[in-house]
């Protein structure tokens, strides 16, 4: 038995006063007697200890003590264990947010511990009807007004947390409204790793927030304005109690970069990680944290790069040139149509193509004509054209150079043996770069100067790119599919196809990762992350704010107020008043006789 107001027991001290008064009242009273000799004969035989004890057990004193005790108990509001069947209606709200997957020191996840507690409540504090709600940003009803508690326990055992964020008060109300509303429950038990503020009804909060976490709390990617790679923005939180050396890695589809850092306990730091070699559109940030909640050690972001450098390749292929192009930009080969750069390799064209042009060992009728080998030698810079930035001509050697006849005005950038090695046709509005020699007849492909030269070329002709930023969404948040899902296909992070209904206009990703959505002819990447707020658990002292004054759940039984004590107290008071009236009447009668 416990007390709702234990402080009321202090009033029991008044018993001492009553006993004191009783002792004063029962102090030996002097009586004059005429028959002393009769009394004297009784003294030794009857004045025993038992009689003294009985004399102390004054019925009036016992009545007064009992009255005080009853009044005090009525004020203290005793709660007694009740063997009745727990609660008529019980709602158990299980936090099923992502953070409940945090593993605790016992080896169980928070959700597993909460589920065990729910099972314990259902087995030791049975209710006539139980409802179980899984709370997150998208609350779900697990059990609705189920009287079969075994079935409810089975459903709890089979449940699992999702990847959604924490549910708010409105989410909780929404979940409970689905099973009859908060007011329809005699008791609402919230099993969560955090408290929920501003709840308009009383709940019993039991928290499970063990487990220390290191997590990525923010991640985004922005394309560099010059088109040369991206910059990644990462925020890292160390929620453990120890300093950590951490290594973060940023990857796209093809390349990766990493950074190492040091975080003090409780620190949160932001980093800008340059990723100049990135040409991808899908990015992953990860940290090797080895913590209790590994699911926020990886975050995803995607970048729409529709402005990939379009290359129209004419003639033979050359892997050195192709590699140099790909390393310079996110290139996209186009078969026809407009291109940012047209590469003509070891072929002959009838006319000069439009747009920017790279002619390598090729002829263009009536414009560029290559003839027999003329000379050889080490390259030399003919001018300081920006295309030669960081190019060292001394490292370039041509075993043989064809003679080139250009009918349009041009300017030699490099020469070898007096012949043009790299020239630029001066055609306003576009850039035409000519490499007359066969690349295999030079050491150019194996020098570092070649990719630098190609990068300079690409940079010169690269269209101005918008500073596109990455985007991602949260688990459970809707992703619009456009006007209709017909013809759409979604692949989850594991590459499995997600079935869509014909009228479906959106889908709600349930796990974090990269999703591929193909709508019509376009394919879009959607990065899905768990809520960053799930990475930070509240400190223990921050909990309990919403804990109500509801009586605790008993392991074996529920507790309820003993409504009988006020009645008992009232009965004793009546008895005491009656005794007082009788006493006064007797006193008045004796006075009248006297």
């Amino acid at each position: 038995m416990s007390l709702a107001l234990p402080g009321a027991l202090a009033l029991l001290g008044t018993v001492l006063l009553v006993v004191l008064f009783a002792l004063l009242r029962t102090r030996r009273r002097r009586r004059e007697v005429a028959t002393y000799f009769v009394w004297r004969e009784l003294r030794d035989s009857l004045s025993t200890r038992a009689q003294r004890l009985r004399a102390l057990l004054d019925p009036l004193l016992l009545l007064q003590i009992a009255t005080i005790a009853a009044v005090v108990l009525a004020m203290a509001q005793p709660l007694i264990a009740s063997r009745r069947a727990g609660f008529a209606t019980l709602a158990i709200v299980l936090d099923a947010s992502a953070s409940m997957s945090t593993r605790m020191g016992s080896g169980l996840t928070r959700y597993e511990a909460a589920a065990r507690r729910a099972d314990e409540i259902l087995s030791t504090c049975p209710a006539s009807s139980v409802s179980i709600v899984l709370l997150s940003q998208t609350p779900r009803v697990l059990v609705s007004r189920e009287s079969n508690l075994a079935a409810a326990r089975k459903a709890v055992a089979a449940s699992a947390p999702g990847w959604d964020g924490d549910g708010s008060a409105s989410d909780l109300i929404r979940g409970l409204e689905a099973v009859g509303g908060p007011s329809s429950f005699e008791q609402i038990v919230l099993l969560s790793d955090h408290s929920i503020d501003d709840l308009p009804f009383p709940t019993r909060l039991e928290t499970f927030n063990e487990g220390k976490n290191v997590g990525l709390t923010a991640f985004s990617v922005r394309q560099n304005p010059d088109g040369a790679g991206v910059s990644a923005f990462v925020e890292l939180h160390n929620g453990t109690t120890e300093s950590r050396d951490l290594r973060m890695e940023i990857t796209d589809e093809k390349s990766r970069t990493s950074v190492e850092t040091y975080l003090e306990p409780g620190d949160t730091s932001s980093y800008v990680v340059p990723f100049p070699t990135s040409r991808g559109t899908q990015f992953t940030a990860s940290v090797a944290a080895h913590d209790a909640f590994p699911y926020d050690d990886v975050r995803y972001a995607s970048l729409d790069r529709e402005n990939a450098f379009r290359v129209l390749w004419l003639g033979k292929t050359n892997r050195y040139l192709a590699a140099a192009l790909d390393s310079s930009a996110a290139t996209t080969r186009v078969e026809a149509g407009p291109a940012d750069l047209t590469v003509v390799y070891d072929t002959t064209l009838d006319a000069l193509p439009s747009g920017n042009l790279l002619l390598v060992h090729s002829n263009v009728r009536d414009v560029v004509t290559l003839s027999a080998r003329a000379t050889s030698g080490v390259a030399a810079a003919a001018n300081d054209d920006p295309l030669l930035a960081a190019v060292h001509p001394d490292d370039i050697y041509a075993e043989s150079l064809p003679l080139v006849d250009v009918l349009l005005p041009y300017r030699s950038l490099l020469t070898a043996g007096g012949s043009p090695f790299i020239l630029r046709i001066l055609d306003p509005g576009r850039l035409i770069l000519v490499l007359p020699s066969d690349l295999t007849a030079t050491n150019l492909p194996i020098t570092v100067d070649f990719p630098i030269l190609i990068r300079n070329l690409v940079s010169s002709v690269m269209p101005q790119l918008p500073t596109a930023a990455s985007h991602w969404t949260l688990v459970g948040s809707g992703v619009a599919l456009g006007s209709a899902a017909a013809g759409s296909a979604i692949l989850d992070p594991q590459g499995h196809s997600i079935a869509l209904l014909p009228e479906q206009r959106a889908f709600f990703p349930e796990v974090p990762g990269q999703y591929s959505i193909r709508v019509g002819d376009t394919t879009k990447t959607v990065s899905v992350n768990i809520d960053p707020r799930e990475s930070v658990s509240p400190e223990p002292e921050e909990l309990g704010a919403s804990t109500t004054s509801l009586p605790p759940l008993s392991a074996q039984s529920s507790e309820r107020h003993m409504a009988i004590w006020p009645l008992v107290a009232a009965a004793f008071l009546v008895l005491l008043a009656a005794e007082f009236v009788v006493y006064r009447c007797r006193v008045l009668e004796e006075r009248s006789l006297g």
């Binding site: 004059e32 005429a34 009857l46 004399a55 004054d58």
Partner: protein, 292 residues
């Protein structure tokens, strides 16, 4: 007078007459038949005429039939002294009303009847000996003396009935009706004083006046009892068993007293102060033959 008796009460007693169980001889004519023949209107017997007898008492009718001179004798009605021995020891101040008041009222009532019966009435208050007495006299003026004396009584001192009786018999040579009023709440043996009263031929009536507390004490719990006469004290826890034992002890004491009086053929009456005096007089004393 107002405090002890009222006139209405006395008026209700006038039809009563004090009865002596034995024929007492007094010095004056009174309302009681004397053990010797004398002059009165109540015929007693015949005896042979002897010279010198008053010829007025010769029954000439008998002489006419039997030719024998017989003289009629009559019961001589003489006054009988009525002595009231009233206990004024300290124990008599207990009770509501006090036993002293009750005893005084009783003595005055009976004395009033005796005076109306032309008897002499004397008052002998006593405690451990006789106090200031009122010698027996005739007339209603004596009633006033009795009243003044009883009004002045202050109960005090221990009880010594033996010494009181001895002093009483020393002061009064003439036997008479002795009305002994006391609570008999003393440890002393009553055998000797009762024997003394019986031996002198007094017609004794014993009346025990008790307080209800004497019979059924109301004390409960721890009390300090003080003997009102000796100031002796004792601490006692009074419970139901104690009260039961007290009732037995008190009953045994009263039985012993009653047996002692009965052995001397002395009527013994018991009353309590909460009982109406008139009821006691009519129901007990009259029924017991003390009054007629």
């Amino acid at each position: 007078m107002q405090q002890l008796l009222d006139e209405d009460f006395l008026r209700r007693l006038v039809n009563l007459r004090f009865m002596a169980r034995r024929r007492q001889g007094g010095r004056f004519s009174g309302g009681h038949a004397a053990p010797r023949s004398g002059m009165s209107i109540e015929f007693a017997d015949y005896r042979d005429y002897v010279p010198g007898d008053d010829l007025r008492y010769v029954d000439w009718n008998v002489y006419g039939r039997l030719e024998r001179l017989l003289v009629k004798t009559f019961v001589q009605e003489l006054d009988v002294p009525v002595y009231f021995l009233v206990d004024t020891s300290a124990s008599m101040r207990l009770g509501r009303p006090t036993k002293t008041i009750y005893a005084s009222r009783l003595a005055l009532a009976l004395g009033y009847l005796a005076l109306r019966n032309l008897d002499r009435v004397g008052l002998y208050p006593f405690a451990d000996g006789l106090a200031e007495c009122v010698p027996p006299r005739h007339g209603m003026a004596q009633f006033s003396r009795l009243l003044r004396r009883l009004s002045a009584v202050v109960p005090q001192g221990p009880t010594s009935l033996a010494k009181a009786v001895a002093d009483f018999q020393t002061q009064t040579r003439e036997s008479g009706i002795v009305v002994l009023i006391s609570d008999f709440c003393a440890e002393e043996d009553v055998h000797e004083p009762i024997a003394r009263l019986a031996h002198r031929g007094d017609d004794t009536i014993a009346i025990r006046v008790l307080d209800r507390e004497d019979v059924a004490p109301s004390a409960r719990g721890p009390v300090e009892l003080r003997d009102v006469e000796t100031d002796e004290r004792m601490a006692l826890v009074v419970g139901p068993a104690t009260l039961e034992a007290y009732r037995k002890g008190f009953g045994a004491h009263e039985t012993a007293i009653r047996r002692e009086f009965q052995s001397r053929r002395i009527p013994f009456f018991v009353t309590t102060t909460d009982r109406p005096l008139e009821q006691f007089i009519h129901e007990d004393l009259r029924a017991g033959g003390v009054l007629q």
